[in-house]
């Protein structure tokens, strides 16, 4: 019979229900009987012993909360009887040792990537068109329409066709038919032929920043955009500037040089207040971008060692299974990648709350440990200054699904980072250059985090989800992993790989981690396009740390 409950760590005093369990039912774990005093929905936890008010609740071997009411053995833990509590942390006291996993099966494996003159290797080949300030957004939209339609980069517009079909019925006086109309899912329109077949696309980014906020935010925006321009998936870029905004062209150029002193990609910067008319600027932008595309179209994929990969690790729309199936599987994939010399990035600092000490002890040097501590404390202090705190991180959806406290969510989220040493601690929006597991300061918000990871150089993102979220990125493929098989079935249009077999006991975490890495290499080589790519899901939200002024 399949296991009904799971204890994640021998130190834990709670059990997780793997399926819906009924009140009055008795479950057996490690030879002990537990009579359930309440019904326990799948993914939720119940106490293994009576808990007095103020008792520690331990999961994954770490403190995840304190009982706020008396809890009986076999009783469901809820937001009503459990409060967030995280263990305090201090500087590195003991450096932990790491035994890398066996990588003999992966050593000869390579991926087919786009080699750039600076030695980075991309997984896609894009041209970037980006505004330095929101005032240029309309011009970006105009360029997008012009380029995508004329060069054949648009996909069949099924929703436009649906509206057109309804409009046709309305014109014909068929109001009744409109109610009945079943709209076709498959578009009859053939995909247009691309003029530049070796360019995966032109990515037109839009954002709301660059002026009006704090200087820190406009500087960070320049840094983030510099990271995208320096990214190996980008062949070159066109930047539109107004002229008077906070995010000055000079700052952008400085940020690019900081990331890459030998930057040599084509970069065209146009400034509207210099060009005079909008027509003059856009005409220049169009001609220069076209010439850039001609050059970008010369790029071809060639074999590259897996050490050239930089992989973002992210979870979003998490559920009670995230920390049991998909996150540990991603963690094993990260360990394999690190052992192969690649970079992986674990971010979302509010979701590392409670596991700081473990990460500090895993730091490869005291400098890395101290920087992580400083970034973490600084972030917490900023949150406090606006009357918020990390314990407000779990969303209503998280809590309904059994992720009751931030520490509980964090302990599961940190599993994505595997067990390897932490080799770098990056502030936002720094670029990742150190092989190994990098910690990067970002919020937990899915899109802000993935936007930042890609800005740090992530050329693939592994994204786990238990509730289902469509997240994608304009320039890096985002591979989405479901934590449970029900989700993979229900939202097959957004999930790339299902790790539910771990819950069902049909696969080990290590087997699933290898499967994830295998898929990721195919995605990196362009053999597989992720669901987010197929859906043209291109989320881009720069993190704003400050207030508007």
């Amino acid at each position: 019979m399949q296991k009904q409950v799971l204890q994640l760590d021998p130190r834990d005093n709670v059990l997780i229900a793997l399926a819906d369990l009924k009140q009055g039912q008795t479950v057996v774990h490690a030879g002990d009987d537990y009579a359930l005093v309440s019904s326990i929905p799948a993914k939720h936890k119940f106490a293994m012993q009576d808990l007095a008010v103020g008792s520690d609740v331990v999961m994954y071997g770490v403190l995840v909360g304190k009982a706020s009411k008396p809890v009986k053995r076999g009783e469901l833990l809820t937001v009503g009887n459990l409060h967030h509590q995280a263990a305090p942390f201090h500087e590195q006291s003991e450096a932990s040792r790491w035994t890398p996993p066996d990588i003999s099966a992966w050593k000869q494996r390579s991926f087919m990537g786009y080699h750039r003159a600076d030695g980075q290797v991309g997984t896609r080949n894009y041209w970037l068109v980006v505004p330095l300030v929101f005032c240029e957004n309309r011009n970006i939209v105009n360029l997008k329409q012009a380029f995508e339609e004329e060069l054949g980069f648009t996909t069949p517009q099924i929703y436009r066709q649906q509206v057109a079909e309804l409009a046709r019925l309305y014109r014909a006086g068929g109001n009744a038919e409109i109610k009945e109309k079943r709209l076709a899912e498959n578009s009859p329109v053939p995909p247009s032929s691309r003029l530049f077949e070796h360019v995966d696309g032109i990515r037109f980014l839009l954002h709301e920043g660059g002026c009006g906020g704090t200087r820190e935010d406009s500087n960070n925006l320049c840094g983030l955009i510099a990271g995208y321009i320096n990214h190996p998936n980008v062949a070159g870029a066109t930047v539109l500037s107004l002229g008077c905004q906070n995010a000055q062209v000079g700052i952008l150029r400085q940020e690019i040089r900081r990331r890459n002193p030998n930057f040599a990609k084509p970069l065209f910067v146009l400034e509207q207040q210099q060009s005079g008319s909008e027509f003059a600027m856009l005409s220049d932008a169009i001609r220069q971008t076209f010439e850039g595309l001609v050059e970008a179209n010369q790029a071809r994929r060639a074999a590259a060692e897996l050490s050239h990969l930089c992989v973002g690790l992210k979870c979003g729309g998490s559920d009670g299974f995230s920390g049991i199936s998909a996150n540990p599987a991603v963690g094993h994939a990260s360990d394999l990648l690190v052992a192969l010399g690649a970079r992986t990035i674990l971010s979302e600092f509010p979701e590392l709350c409670g596991v700081e000490q473990e990460l500090i002890n895993r730091a490869s040097s005291t400098e890395v440990a101290d920087r992580f501590i400083k970034l973490m404390l600084d972030y917490a202090a900023r949150a406090k200054a606006v009357h918020a705190s990390f314990d407000m991180n779990p969303s209503p959806g998280n809590m309904r699904d059994g992720l009751l406290t931030d520490a509980m969510k964090s302990a599961g989220a940190a599993k994505k980072g595997g067990t390897s040493p932490v080799t770098a601690a990056l502030d936002y929006p720094e670029y990742s250059t150190t092989p190994g597991l990098n910690l990067q300061c970002t919020p937990g918000n899915d899109v802000e985090c993935v936007t930042a990871q890609v800005g740090a150089g992530a050329s693939v993102v592994l994204f786990t989800t238990g509730l289902g979220t469509p997240t994608g990125n304009p320039i890096a493929p985002v591979v989405k992993l479901s934590t449970n098989s029900a989700l993979a079935g229900r939202m097959a249009d957004i999930i790339d790989i299902d790790t539910g077999a771990i819950i069902a006991g049909e696969a080990t975490i290590e087997q699933m981690g290898e499967k994830v890495l295998d898929l990721m290499v195919k995605v990196a080589s362009g053999e597989v396009r992720t669901k987010a790519e197929q859906n043209m899901q291109q989320d881009f939200i720069p993190w704003k740390r400050g207030v508007s002024l």
């Binding site: 990537g113 080699h115 750039r116 003159a117 600076d118 030695g119 290797v121 010369q298 790029a299 071809r300 994929r301 060639a302 074999a303 590259a304």
Partner: protein, 278 residues
């Protein structure tokens, strides 16, 4: 591993490089391994065969000195005076250098169309097998029948035809290339480099489809196991960038199975030149 089976280095001077005329003024500078590295980093090529440009022992020595510390340069095709009675002592001086893999003579520049068949030259070629060196055949299409007669005499010697015998791509003609290549390819010890094509095309107006008929002939004659991609860099830059030059061949084979691509883009060169895996 992707290998560029044909490229050059030089320290430019007007006397030794008098063939670089005004139309090729971009070539009037030095080209070294650091320049090639930039092109490799952009395209994912990892190793090269550096081929002699000057006809002197000093050239061979200079290329081998460049190659010794360079992980990029997998092998050197040098020059020796093949007609000299001293050939063996010249070869002995270099024997044992692991990066010396072949010999070339600029036969295309010899006024005698039957130069390859001269007795003193044949005697020199006969010495190469003993030193395990391959020979690069640099000729024009009109020389192909002579080349067939030539290779017939050395069934165990490894030969490679440079630049598809420099077909008249600019004119679009495939004759007499096709007939000559078919004859030469009958000898299984002859390989062919898919290199130098852009230089034979209309420099300002070539298109990849102009090369396709010649690639079709080479593939038909030699099959995918005896073809090697090469750039002829930096000479190719008179007509195209390094990436554009390689893309002509990469794209031509893009629709073939991965195994065929691996063969043409590196494995055949490794086998032909007996390159040590790095």
């Amino acid at each position: 591993m992707r290998i560029d089976a044909h490229q050059h280095f030089w320290r430019y001077n007007a006397d030794e490089f008098d063939w670089i005329d005004d139309s090729m003024s971009a070539l009037r500078r030095d080209f070294g391994p650091a320049d090639l590295k930039v092109e490799f980093d952009r395209t994912g090529f990892q190793g090269s065969i550096a081929v002699q440009a000057r006809q002197s022992l000093e050239e061979t020595r200079w290329l081998l000195d460049l190659a010794a510390p360079s992980p990029l340069i997998l092998g050197v095709v040098g020059w020796f005076d093949l007609r000299s009675p001293d050939l063996r002592s010249q070869l002995r001086e270099f024997a044992g250098n692991p990066k010396l893999v072949g010999v070339r003579h600029v036969v295309q520049g010899e006024p005698d169309d039957r130069f390859l068949l001269r007795p003193d030259f044949l005697r020199g070629i006969g010495a190469l097998e003993e030193f395990d060196l391959a020979y690069d055949i640099l000729i024009y299409p009109r020389h192909l029948p002579v080349a067939a007669e030539f290779v017939q005499q050395f069934p165990r010697q490894r030969f490679v035809l440079d630049h598809l015998a420099k077909p008249l791509i600019k004119s679009g003609s495939i004759h007499p290339l096709e007939e000559g290549m078919r004859e030469l390819a009958k000898f299984p010890n002859v390989y062919c480099k898919l290199s130098g094509m852009v230089t034979e095309a209309d420099w300002g107006n070539w298109k990849p489809e102009h090369m396709r008929p010649y690639l079709d002939i080479a593939l038909d004659c030699f099959g995918p196991e005896r073809l090697m991609i090469g750039s002829d860099w930096p000479v190719c830059t008179v007509a195209a960038s390094y990436a554009q030059t390689m893309n002509v061949v990469l794209d031509y084979f893009g629709k073939y199975p991965g195994d065929v691509q691996d063969a043409v883009l590196g494995r055949n060169a490794e086998r032909f030149w007996k390159l040590k895996s790095q």
